[in-house]
């Protein structure tokens, strides 16, 4: 008798609505209602629009970080990559390189940092990604310090400020770029063979290798993409600050990873969706903004966000145990 194994699970309405992303959406709406109730200034188009501009810069890195974490890897060097590419750009500009070229070099530096991460990870298989990126985290930040020697650099041309502060009509420029990247990364993860490979490797790297998936190549591409997106963050963040310094984007890696985790991306690999991470970005960003609007002090904000993360991890754990 022939046995048919479906390549997709049968549709189940209950399953569909039980997904983590729906719960996130409910919490997201809840946070918005709470903010509205707490501050009369919250539900204002212009305020909300400008609030998103304040946290979207780091959101660019969350998109590739979802890929990295689905691979069951992690990249903690991203903030240092932001610093190095930003500092190189500023230094070149100060040495007389035209800003347009400096921007391109910023992207090249970030991409190269990511490529080096990927290469080290596939070459030294006995080292985990956390160790490799811990080393490059120190290395990249160190080079940034060597270049600028603890100084700040800035005075960029007028047009560069547009990245972080400009609008297209009434919509922030950074928002448009983010949405474009989010769509590209979402399609890449969920609609392409490459994305399927990423899930397969995260679930079982050995089986993937034996099935002919180019594991090493996929990993290098994912880490290179992460470096590239860190450089995109560097551009927007540097523009927003109008200047840069070697300790820019300090601790961004933790915030980025936290957003991905809250978005339902499992640190054990193989699980997670792009949309979850995107909801999580806005959830954390707007929650922080709302708490800031009623002037909750910084420690309490950290406690609240920390509590949210613990709940997220606990919940995904409950889900996994049940479905196992």
């Amino acid at each position: 008798m022939q046995r048919v194994i479906a390549d997709k699970q049968a549709w189940s309405t209950k399953q569909f609505f039980l997904q983590w992303e729906w719960i996130l959406l409910v919490v997201f709406i809840g946070v918005n209602i709470m903010n509205m109730y707490l501050s009369p200034y919250y539900m204002d188009f212009f305020n909300l629009r400008d609030a998103t501009m304040a946290f979207l810069d780091k959101a660019f890195i969350v998109l590739p970080m979802v890929f990295v974490m689905i691979l069951a890897d992690i990249d903690i060097s991203v903030a240092s990559t932001v610093a190095l590419s930003s500092v190189v750009m500023a230094d070149l500009y100060q040495r007389g390189v035209p800003m347009e070229i400096a921007v391109v070099i910023c992207l090249v530096v970030g991409t190269a940092c990511g490529f080096v991460n990927g290469l080290l990870i596939v070459k030294f298989k006995e080292l985990s990604a956390v160790i490799v990126t811990l080393i490059t985290m120190i290395l990249y930040r160190g080079i940034a310090y060597v270049i600028l020697e603890n100084q700040a650099a800035g005075n960029f041309p007028e047009w560069f400020g547009y990245l972080g502060w400009g609008y297209v009509g009434e919509i922030p420029f950074i928002m448009i770029v983010f949405i474009a990247f989010a769509i590209v990364f979402g399609l890449l993860l969920h609609k392409t063979t490459f994305g399927k490979h990423v899930y397969a490797i995260g679930t079982n790297p050995t089986a993937s290798r034996f099935s002919g998936i180019p594991v090493d190549r996929v990993k290098i591409i994912v880490f290179t993409l992460t470096g590239f997106m860190a450089a995109v963050t560097a551009l927007f963040l540097t523009s927003k600050m109008g200047s840069t310094r070697p300790n820019i984007a300090n601790m961004y890696e933790l915030e980025v990873i936290a957003m991905a985790v809250l978005g339902g991306v499992s640190t054990a690999g193989g699980k997670g969706k792009m949309i979850g991470a995107i909801i999580a970005i806005f959830l954390v960003g707007l929650l922080r903004y709302g708490l800031g609007l009623i002037n909750v002090n910084a420690q309490l904000q950290l406690i609240i966000i920390g509590g949210l993360l613990i709940a997220a991890v606990a919940l995904t754990q409950v889900k996994r145990n049940k479905s196992a």
Binding site: K14, L18, W165, S243, I248, Y289, N295
Partner: protein
């Protein structure tokens, strides 16, 4: 397989999550901002004055905010006190956005970065918010006036003559600063270097400027690194309250009293122990409460229109007396006065004050 139990459990958890969130937020709003809802309209005479310090958990900053709050409340206005959990410009930019959204009347800020706040503060000024910096300056384009604790030249020169006296006029010295971008620190360090050019300090060598980032543990490890790298080190100048207390602790723990001298800018309450045990013979500071109060009066005067931040503008800052705005590079500033010396003879009376 998913059971009914599972559905219930997840719904329950998200519900609990939501409730605890709103509860926490409500607590926070009650404690920090008592009448935000009753004072929704800004039509009344009651103005909203905000202050942003560098980071939380800094007793010096808390005193400053306390002075600011006191003046603002006495004048019948609402004070909003804010400080990020990390001493970064990124975090301060987000806070400025939050204050713009709340339509405050003035923002007083101790800047974590001289230049990086310019776009955000300019945006605030474009919306009609009066902006001033205090303690650590934002650049001239991003503020209307700067409230300076004391004359930076006097601070820098006084610290050098102080350490020179302690070490007997010769030997290696080092500086333990806060972050490398802290504007005030860098100006004092520049004046220290200028004072060192005087021939009478020819035998004193400044070997290193270390950065403890105003974090206690980093300041401790930077001090330890200084002692290790320069075994002949004679003195440390720490022009930051976090740094000098950390250095005082390291020197006390290692029994280096008398071998390595320490001076700088410190809080009497934190430094009393080290002044009394002789590790730090004396140190300097102004009163951070006064700095906060002066900023409060300045904010009020700017909002009222008594002053605009121009050189020569005069106003009365409550008990602090008549203040005049003077030039500061390409911007303007108000100076509080001279640094004050704390030693074994007067520390006992000051340590309970701040």
């Amino acid at each position: 397989m998913k059971s009914k139990m599972n559905v219930k459990k997840m719904l329950l958890t998200s519900l609990v999550l939501l409730m605890s969130l709103s509860l926490l937020a409500a607590c926070g709003s009650n404690s920090t901002n008592k009448d935000s809802t009753s004072n929704g309209g800004s039509s009344s005479d009651k103005k909203k004055h905000a202050i942003i310090f560098k980071n939380t958990g800094n007793p010096y900053g808390e005193k400053m905010m306390q002075g600011f709050e006191q003046v603002i409340t006495e004048l019948g206005h609402e004070a909003i006190l804010k400080a990020p959990d990390q001493p970064t410009a990124e975090a301060q930019i987000a806070m400025i956005e939050e204050l713009i959204a709340q339509k405050v009347d003035s923002i007083s800020i101790a800047a974590n970065d001289n230049d990086a706040l310019q776009p955000a503060l300019k945006k605030a000024m474009d919306r009609g918010i009066k902006v001033l910096s205090l303690d650590s300056a934002a650049n001239a384009q991003s503020r209307m006036v700067h409230v300076n604790q004391a004359d930076p030249e006097r601070i820098g020169r006084t610290l050098i003559s102080g350490i020179a006296e302690m070490i007997g006029g010769e030997g290696q010295i080092a500086i333990l600063s806060a972050t490398s971008q802290a504007t005030n620190q860098n100006i004092w360090i520049e004046w220290m270097k200028k004072e060192l050019e005087d021939p009478k300090y020819a035998k004193i060598e400044l070997v290193k400027v270390a950065y403890g980032d105003d974090l206690r543990d980093k300041s401790v490890s930077e001090t330890e690194a200084l002692l290790k790298s320069y075994p002949d080190l004679k003195g440390i100048i720490a022009p930051t309250t976090v740094g000098i207390a950390a250095a005082g602790k390291v020197l006390t723990d290692k029994g280096l009293k008398g071998k390595v001298q320490l001076t700088g800018l410190g809080l009497p309450s934190e430094m009393a122990e080290y002044i009394e045990n002789g590790v730090c013979q004396w140190m300097y500071l102004w009163n951070p409460i006064d700095v906060g109060e002066l900023a409060g009066h300045t904010a009020e005067a700017l909002v009222k229109g008594t002053i605009t931040g121009k050189v020569g503008d005069k106003f009365t800052a409550g008990g602090l007396g008549e203040m005049t705005i003077v030039e500061d590079g390409d911007g303007t500033q108000i100076m509080l006065g001279d640094p004050y010396k704390f030693d074994a003879s007067n520390i006992a009376e000051w340590k309970d004050v701040y």
